[in-house]
């Protein structure tokens, strides 16, 4: 399968601190890649670098064969890279419909507002929010706002979709519902990279797993192999060990 995203020796430094260190990673078209690692491992930074929220300090990012290392985030969005945020980012005063319509309208210059609202209705229906179309985003529950975020990301007709902890803060039923949606999105041909803490979801959904630890990529492969990898176990156990003793 062709590679849709390629990171070449990508680093991101904040002051003297490396949030990402020489990460080289390829993502194939059609994959569902699970990006895991302890807190502060650099997962969100990686998504931020690719979506041009925080540009890479060094290294190169290529999307569909084109260098996107220096593009602005709105340009990345228009090329078909879309994402959800760990902390949801709605336009609070707008209706759910207009939230999604904004994504449809601005990700493709030339889309009329009318056409964008039509498309938005479909995407809201897909995530099951058609009943909430007229409600302002600020009044939705967290689970609904997460689904709204997903509808927004989908309205941009992405080729590559980053899901940053879409399940955090959801209950079991809600997680199951979200997982179903992710499967459906993948089936429609969108490549997915998901940051996820729930191992059950990762093992259920992902075709491959990449593990970050202290900003470096320490493992990358099939889910069953990766979770047996000694470096991965150490990274997680080490943290748990520290946590136990930090609280003791």
């Amino acid at each position: 399968m062709p590679e849709i995203l390629k990171l070449d020796n990508v680093s991101r430094r904040f002051g003297g601190l490396y949030a990402l260190r020489d990460v080289t990673l390829g993502i194939d078209s059609g994959e569902i890649l699970g990006l895991i690692g302890p807190n502060g491992a650099g997962k969100t930074t990686l998504v931020n670098v690719v979506t041009a929220v925080t540009p890479a300090t060094s290294g190169r990012v290529a999307f569909a064969g084109e260098d996107i290392t220096r593009v602005k985030s709105y340009q990345a969005a228009r090329r078909g890279l879309s994402r959800t945020f760990q902390v949801v980012q709605p336009f609070p005063e707008m209706s759910a419909l207009d939230n999604v319509a904004a994504a449809a309208a601005f990700s493709r210059p030339g889309t009329s507002l009318h056409a964008a609202r039509d498309a938005a209705r479909e995407h809201l229906a897909f995530v099951g929010l058609e009943g909430m179309a007229g409600q302002s985003a600020a009044t939705l529950t967290l689970a609904m706002r997460k689904r709204l975020e997903l509808a927004k990301a989908l309205a941009m007709r992405p080729r590559l979709l980053f899901l940053d902890e879409v399940n955090a803060g959801l209950n079991t039923a809600e997680v199951e519902r979200a997982t179903g949606l992710i499967h459906q999105i993948a089936k429609s041909g969108v490549t997915i990279v998901m940051i996820e803490h729930l191992m059950k979801v990762v093992l259920n959904v992902c075709t491959r797993i990449a593990v970050l630890h202290n900003g470096a990529l320490i493992a990358n492969g099939a889910p069953r192999d990766v979770i047996k990898d000694s470096a991965v176990i150490e990274a997680y156990l080490g943290q748990q060990y520290a946590r136990r003793h930090g609280h003791g």
Partner: protein
């Protein structure tokens, strides 16, 4: 078109009938009213739609006034000078906006305030072109008859207001207006959905400047004499904000009503307390913000009463 936009247009059209009603004094008031509305509606594009607290209006008012004044001095007709003044204001604001609008909150407010000072200083020092602190005399453009003069400049200002109103309505119902609303509510998220925020903000800043520039141009031709402290007066920046705050931020109709109300208040204060004119104005501003935090919209649903009881 929304109903409030329709009312707005009707209001502006009604204003055009003013010369039928009164003499030179009424026309002077009417011209001031049209000018205030232009300033307030323009400010609302950057301050209300996009949420950037700009204090730059005086900079572009002065720029427009001086551009027009100088062009008129070179025998360029008024109908040509005004679009040039507006275009120059748009271009300068658009370019500066690309840089200044990277700042947020207080920092943007200060930078826009500093812009007024910088332009004033530049005009002050470019003595050859502007006459510097001595001011600039502007050749009379209308007839010699006082009433004809008053009527001419009223309609000139009113025409600028009409264009401003149409432009503002067009913006609010377009992609641009939608995008600005996104930027106000969540700028980071706007970028992530593919919105070129720098471009949109620059256009908004340009639009908020160009009609103000044209208004400054009409003003200069109207009063026949300008100097830097007069047309780069920071009050031209602050008054539109107060007007918009009276009307409740965001809605063009509200802002326009706010502008008219403010003008009535100011006129009353001027007449009765000339020595304490700005003190009363200051007190009014404070009282307004304390008791009507959302402008006239706070009068709805007894919010004012609750506020009074709470304070």
């Amino acid at each position: 078109m929304k109903r409030s936009d329709l009312i707005l247009i009707v209001l502006v059209l009604c204003l055009a009938a003013l010369p039928l009603a009164g003499g030179a004094y009424t026309l002077r008031l009417g011209t001031m009213a049209a000018m205030s509305c232009i300033l307030a509606l323009s400010w609302n594009v950057i301050g209300g739609f996009a949420g950037y607290p700009s204090f730059a209006a005086a900079a572009f008012f002065g720029l427009g006034a001086y551009t027009t004044g100088i062009l008129l001095g070179y025998k360029v007709p008024l109908w040509l000078s005004l679009p040039i003044a507006a275009g120059l204001s748009f271009a300068l604001a658009g370019l500066l906006g690309a840089v200044l609008l990277r700042l947020r909150g207080h920092y943007f407010a200060i930078a826009s305030l500093a812009l007024v000072e910088v332009l004033r200083e530049i005009v002050n020092h470019a003595t050859d072109l502007t006459g510097g602190g001595m001011g600039l005399n502007i050749p009379v453009t209308a007839g010699t008859d006082i009433m004809a003069d008053a009527r001419f400049f009223f309609y000139a200002m009113w025409l600028v207001l009409l264009v401003t109103t149409i432009a503002v309505i067009a913006v609010s119902s377009s992609r641009l207006g939608f995008g600005l609303s996104c930027i106000r509510q969540n700028e980071a998220a706007s970028q992530m959905v593919g919105l070129n925020t720098t471009l949109y903000k620059s256009i908004a800043f340009g639009l908020s400047a160009c009609f103000v520039g044209a208004a400054g141009g009409v003003y200069a031709a109207w009063v026949h004499y300008i100097d830097p402290t007069d047309v780069f007066d920071i009050l031209y920046s602050v008054k539109p904000i107060v007007m918009a705050l009276i009307g409740g931020l965001g809605s063009s109709l509200g802002v326009m009503i706010g502008a008219l109300l403010y003008l009535v208040l100011e006129e009353v204060v001027w007449r009765n307390y000339i020595q304490f004119h700005s003190a009363v104005l200051g007190a009014l501003i404070i009282a307004l913000l304390l008791f009507l935090p959302h402008g006239l919209t706070s009068l709805r649903g007894g919010l004012l009463l609750r506020r009074l009881r709470g304070a």
